[in-house]
Assembly symmetry: C2
Homo-oligomer: 159 residues x 2
Amino acid sequence: MATTTPPGISAWLTIGELAKRTGVATSALRFYEERGLIHSERTSAGHRRYPRPTTRRVAFITFAQRVGLTLEEVKAELDLLPQHHVPTQDDWSRLTTHWQERIEERIRELERLKDGLTNCIGCGCLSLDRCKVMNPYDSAAKLGTGPRYWQGDPRPFGR
Amino acid sequence: MATTTPPGISAWLTIGELAKRTGVATSALRFYEERGLIHSERTSAGHRRYPRPTTRRVAFITFAQRVGLTLEEVKAELDLLPQHHVPTQDDWSRLTTHWQERIEERIRELERLKDGLTNCIGCGCLSLDRCKVMNPYDSAAKLGTGPRYWQGDPRPFGR
DNA sequence: CTAGAGATTCAAGTGCACTTGAAGTCAAGG
DNA sequence: CCTTGACTTCAAGTGCACTTGAATCTCTAG
C-alpha cells in the first residue's frame, strides 16, 4: 500500500497507532466503530486499518465529549460529513460553527448558575421571593410541579 | 409538632412535599438520603419527615450537579456545613465561594475548547504544528502516550 | 522455531445517578 | 368496612461510555 507518504509511513493506521495518536484506548476505538462513529477496512488477517483522517474524527469525538455531547449526538454530527470524499476544511467548519453556539449556550448557563449561586443559595435564603422555593406559605406551590425555573432544565446540554 | 409557623404549615416536610418543592423525584430523595446527602427523622409509622432547611440542601445538590459535581463531591461539600445548627448565610456562602472558582474554571475550559474547535478542527488540519496530532512524521509521538494537551484532562471537572 | 507484542471476538463487569417494580403498611374519607 | 393515596423496603433494571477478561490468532524479531 505505498502512497505518496514518506517511506515507512503508511496511509493506514493500526488500532494501536490510532490509539497512541489520539490518546483514546483501543477498547474505546472498537466501541466507537461498533457504534458507527468511525470506520475501518480489514487486512486479510482481520486486523483493522484506519484511514489517516480518522484521527480527525476521533479528535472531534473527544472534543465533542468534553463539551458535553453524547456519542449519539456526535454520531449525528459526523453523519453530516460527506461520505464520498475525505472531509475538507469547509466540511468540518460547517459542523463546528453549529457547535460554537452550543458551547456559548452552555457558558451562559454556567454564568447563570454562578449568579444563581450567589443570589439564591449564597444569600442563605434561596432567594425567597425570586425562587419561591423557601416561601413558607407555598405561593410557589401553585406554579406547578415545584419551582424549577432557577434550576434550568434537567440536563438540557451536557452534564 | 406545633411551631411558630402558620396553622396547617408544619416545620417538617413529607418526602412528597419535598419532592414537589424541589422538583426532585422521591426516589432520588431516598437515594440522596441513603448516600448521606440529606437526613430525615421518622414518624411512628416509619415515614420520613424532613426539616424545612432540607429544601436548601436539595437545591444546592441540584445546582452542584448542573455545574458538574458528582454526588460524592457534593456530599464532601455539604459535610463542611455545621452539624450543630441550621446553616446560616455565612455557612452557605463559604461553600459557594469555593464554587465560583470551579465554575469559572469550567467556563475557561469551554472557551478554550471553543477556540480549539476553530483553530484545530475547524481549520481542517487539526492544527498540525500546534497539536502535532496530524503530523505525518509523528514528531508528536515522542511526547509520550499520544498528544493530549489539546484535549484537556479526561473529565477533570464535570462531563 | 519460538517468544512476545499486538491483534481479534464476545460476554460480562464498572461507575454514576437514578428509576422501576413488587409487596407491604398506614391514615383518612365515603 | 373498604378503598385510595401516600408512604415503606429491597432488589433489580436502565443508560451511558467504556473497560476487563478469556480464549484465540497473527506478525515480527531473535
